[in-house]
Amino acid sequence: MSVLSAVPLAAETAVLWVALLIPSLLGLLAWRFPPQRMRPLLLVITPLPLATFWLLHRVAMGGELEGVWSLGELLLYWRLDGLRGLLLLLTQLLLLASATYAVGHRRAIAVAERTFAGFWPLLGGLATALGIIWVAADLLTLYVALELMGLCAVGMMLLPGKQAALVAGMRYLLYALVGSLAWLLGVALLLGVSGRLDLSGLAATTQPGTVTSIAMALLAAGLLLKAAIFPLHGWLAPVHASAWTPVSALHGALVVKASFFILMQLWQRLVPEAVAAAWLLGLLGSMAVVWGGLQAWRAQALKQVVAWSTVGQLGYLMLAFPLLAGTSAAVATLAWQATWLQLAAHAMAKAAMFMAAGNLVLAAGEGRLTDLAGTSRQLPFPLMTFGIAAVTLMGLPPSAGFTAKWLLLQAAILAGQWLWVAVLVAGTLLSAAYVFRVLRCAFVEDATRQEVQPLPAGMNLIALLLALAALGLGLGADWPLALIRAGGMP
């Protein structure tokens, strides 16, 4: 292996790859020696986001980093711009949070140490895969990372070993594999038409046409299945019902969005002008918003509410396609920023929400909404966290969800695409409906309730910090948005 990039960037490149691969190594290490305490783990992982932050700083100073790895004849491309750097940073922060949380979680659910040990390498693998997806710039690397991510995710989902988990995991596995094959078929067609796999090369050589269109459609179908976009979301909610909380948190926050990210990359490069198809994607997103919201509203179990809310929130991201296709530069810039801000906001808030919900369920011992009665008194901390995370999900100020929604609405109004305004309104109201349904249950006072199980303070704290981060990003969005504007928009 040799690094082909320019010498001054060598340090950055090295740091990048170390930052990408370290999680896997740490995961393997933790498999052998499972961590027992939160704090040491925190100390070990904290350098990762710091390093990424440094990278991001370099990117902000000096523009994008790009490079090629050659593996024999095989050339693998990578690229780090503001957007990708931010996503990497986000991944590592969430990795930090969920890993730390997992330590407490294991203690709280009282599962055998060996049973839980499998979690660590899978977590490491997932983090590495996600990192690679963000920085990869060719289809082969993306394929590898996508598969790695999918398999790790399935593995993590299966860990609890309960029957429901196994059924859901099996479905997830099957659909993930088939989705990959659809994607691979698309890649095959692209490879056939242009003979290249690197994204910039593809963008340069592919002409819009029948083959590109069909390839893109196949690719999109596979990725949509993996990204759990309506109507291909069926596998998502059951998976979360029985998964461990840190797994749900990371999965709901990032895994599904990796597929979206890839789709967005390819779409923008290959068929940026396909307005009608983009509208179809937008419509699917709209239906996801409504459907996910409705299901979350009618759901009876707390974790189901959170899982369905993911389906709904992913729909917001899909609105980017029609707003980016064939619209003015101003609209496109707004929509572009909105999408990634929404992604980040949702990632953090959803992770926080899963954790808070997990804490509530663990502490209260019950997973149904009606069993939450009185938790506002006994478990104010996790409930508060849930509430703060919900603020982001509902898109109420001052959260990042609000800022993102503002941008999205601004883009939609500027473009005159009022349909999306209606969708956003409906989505917000629905999300308020399901969030406050939960809170309402928690505020019921006249229910008898036994003692609650005490949880490690760290678990609550991590969730709260994530939720607050999502909240704070709302007003502190200027810096990341400047980075996103500066680089990343194809």
């Binding site: 659909y175 179908a221 068929v271 396909a274 198809a277 179809l280 009618r298």
Partner: protein, 603 residues
């Protein structure tokens, strides 16, 4: 010197009653629970003293207070001074009288009657407050102070009206309050409109602005009617005969003697009287006022003689007298040139009526608790103010002569004639009053009621004296003309004779064949019509409101039901999720095909 005095005494006049008021609960709080004190002590009675001192020592002056409301501007001039003297005096005497009048209540309170104690307490609190409002409105030249004084007086007096808390008292209180609130509303409308048009905060400015304002007449109408509630303009007078009989006698005295004049003050300070620049509109307003005043003067007399309760008769007499004053005030609009002369007469008349009516009301209480005086002396003393009111004696004669002379000069003989007719009515009313009192007194003697406390007859006698001798002890404008020459006396006295004769005739007839008019004509005349109309309106309104509410409930229920339907539909829709889950593979193919077809067909 008088300026310094004004600066000191004018606020003191207002603050002193308030201090005395605050003293009452303070004393009660400090006293032992077991030993209730008599709140109406000597000090309490001194509440109007600073006002009296001010009115007697300062003729004219003004005080401006920037920080007060919109900027306070308090003024004392001849007209205000006169009324201030009369008001303060009446309040003082009535206060002293009240000490005696409420002695029985006090005795009950000492005996442990909680309700009596509460009533006494309330009286002791509200009396100075009402006084304060009355005084403030007299001296206020800025609208805010005036309105404040007016409303403080109005609302505090409610407590005096309902003092006894009997059913009748509540009824009377209700009429009082309803009409008062209505009046306040009209006044507020008039004041806001006028002040808004003129861009002023003083009454003087308002009066001038009204002349120029495009809708000045309507402002005038609003103010006339608004103050008319207090002054008993016909149609708006209905609270008087209902509230007066039920109020404690000292309260009736100040209500009828002093507070009723607040309406007059309102007219005098806001209406453009004597302004030659006032247009034809105001003249028409004046005519309307004139007619309504005469109607009140005569109509109230006719209705009043059919009453049984002496205080009700006196209340109608007040309406009648205020009708005469209304007619005189109206002349200020009809014939502005007459006004400078007439205004003095009006003020004299008002002062005379205030004191005399006060004396008469206090006399009613004396009749109920007769003192140990020889009957001839008692009845002479009781008859004196009545005669004065008819214009046959002392201040009454003086006042009557004063306006009659002015009107004669202005060649408005017809008005004089009508007013004389009203005086006939007044004579009849007075006769009826004394007759009723006679009954009451006889009844009281038979029942051997509570012993009389000396404060009562003393205060009464003092008021009598003050009323009868008004023109002599008060100089200034009032005594301008002096007593009428003897030659004019027949012209002034025939109404009395006619009234007495008529009364005797009616009495003679009624003795043989009772007319039962009193039963058919209850006090409060139009009020009962209004009540009936209101009840009907309320039933109808309630009905339509109920219908509205039920319609709304139905509507809401419909929506709630629809919402439940929607939720049910949604619930069933969520079951479609199972289908989506089972067909994910086909759906994926479908999405791919759809996307591809869209991309292929659109390019």
């Amino acid at each position: 010197m008088s300026d310094a005095l004004l600066v000191l005494v004018l606020p003191a006049m207002l603050i002193w009653p308030l201090l005395l008021m605050l003293r009452v609960p303070l004393m009660a709080a400090l006293a032992d629970r077991g030993q209730p004190r008599f709140p109406l002590d000597g000090l309490w009675c001194t509440a109007p003293l600073p006002a009296l001192v001010l009115a007697l020592s300062v003729d004219e002056g003004a005080l401006a207070l920037d920080w007060w409301l919109f900027g306070g501007f308090w003024l004392l001039d001849g007209m205000r001074g006169t009324l201030l003297v009369v008001t303060a005096l009446l309040w003082l005497l009535a206060g002293v009288y009240a000490r005696g009048y409420l002695a029985g209540e006090q005795a009950r309170a000492v005996a442990g009657d909680e309700a009596a104690e509460a009533r006494l307490m309330r009286f002791a609190l509200l009396w100075p407050l009402t006084l304060c409002g009355n005084l403030l409105l007299l001296v206020a030249e800025d609208i805010a102070s005036f309105y404040m004084g007016f409303s403080v007086m109005t609302f505090a007096a409610y407590g005096l009206v309902v003092h006894s808390q009997t059913r009748d008292a509540r009824m009377g209180g209700l009429t009082y309050l309803v009409m008062a609130v209505l009046g306040e509303g009209l006044i507020l409308a008039g004041l806001l409109w006028g002040a808004g048009s003129a861009g002023t905060t003083t009454l003087g400015g308002l009066r001038e602005g009204m002349l120029e304002a495009p809708n000045g007449v309507w402002i005038g109408v609003l103010l006339w009617l608004g103050f008319g509630v207090k002054a008993g303009v016909v149609g708006l007078h209905i609270w008087l005969p209902l509230a007066h009989p039920v109020a404690p006698t000292p309260a009736s005295a100040v209500l009828s003697g002093a507070m009723i004049k607040a309406g007059l003050i309102g007219w005098l300070t806001t209406l453009p009287l004597g302004e030659t620049a006032a247009g034809e509109g105001f003249a028409w307003l004046g005519r309307a006022m004139l007619v309504s005043g005469l109607v009140a003067a005569i109509g109230a007399a006719l209705y009043g003689v059919c009453q049984r309760h002496p205080k009700a008769v006196l209340a109608y007499s007040s309406v009648s007298q205020m009708g005469m004053i209304t007619a005189l005030v109206a002349m200020g609009l009809v014939a502005p040139t007459l006004w400078p002369a007439l205004s003095a007469a009006v003020v004299l008349f008002a002062a005379h009526h205030g004191l005399t009516k006060g004396a008469l009301f206090l006399g009613v209480g004396i009749g109920e608790h007769p003192p140990r005086l020889p009957a001839w002396l008692l009845w002479t003393l009781l008859a004196l103010p009545a005669l004065s009111l008819t214009g046959a004696l002392a201040s009454g004669l003086d006042a009557k002569w004063a306006f009659k002379a002015v009107l004669h000069e202005g060649d408005y003989t017809i008005v004089v004639t009508w007013l004389s007719l009203a005086a006939v009515g007044t004579s009849a009313l007075m006769a009826r009053t004394l007759w009723c009192q006679w009954h009451v007194e006889r009844q009281a003697r038979e029942e051997g009621l509570e012993p009389l406390v000396s404060a009562m007859p003393l205060a009464w006698l003092a008021s009598l004296l003050a009323a009868l001798t008004l023109p002599w002890w008060w100089g200034g404008e009032l005594a301008l003309r002096g007593l009428p020459p003897l030659a004019e006396l027949p012209g002034l006295l025939w109404p009395l004779a006619l009234g007495l004769a008529g009364s005797l005739g009616v009495w003679a007839v009624a003795r043989r064949r009772p007319l039962h008019l009193a039963r058919r004509l209850p006090p409060g005349d139009l009020w009962w019509l209004l009540v009936e109309g209101w009840q009907r309106l309320r039933v109808r309104g309630q009905g339509s409101l109920d219908r509205l509410v039920s319609a709304r409930d139905v509507w809401v229920a419909w929506w709630v039901a629809r919402e439940r339907d929607v939720v049910r539909v949604l619930d069933s829709m969520t079951r479609a999720e199972e289908w989506l889950r089972r067909h994910a593979a086909v759906l994926m193919m479908g999405v791919a095909v759809g996307l591809a077809l869209l991309m292929l067909t659109s390019t």
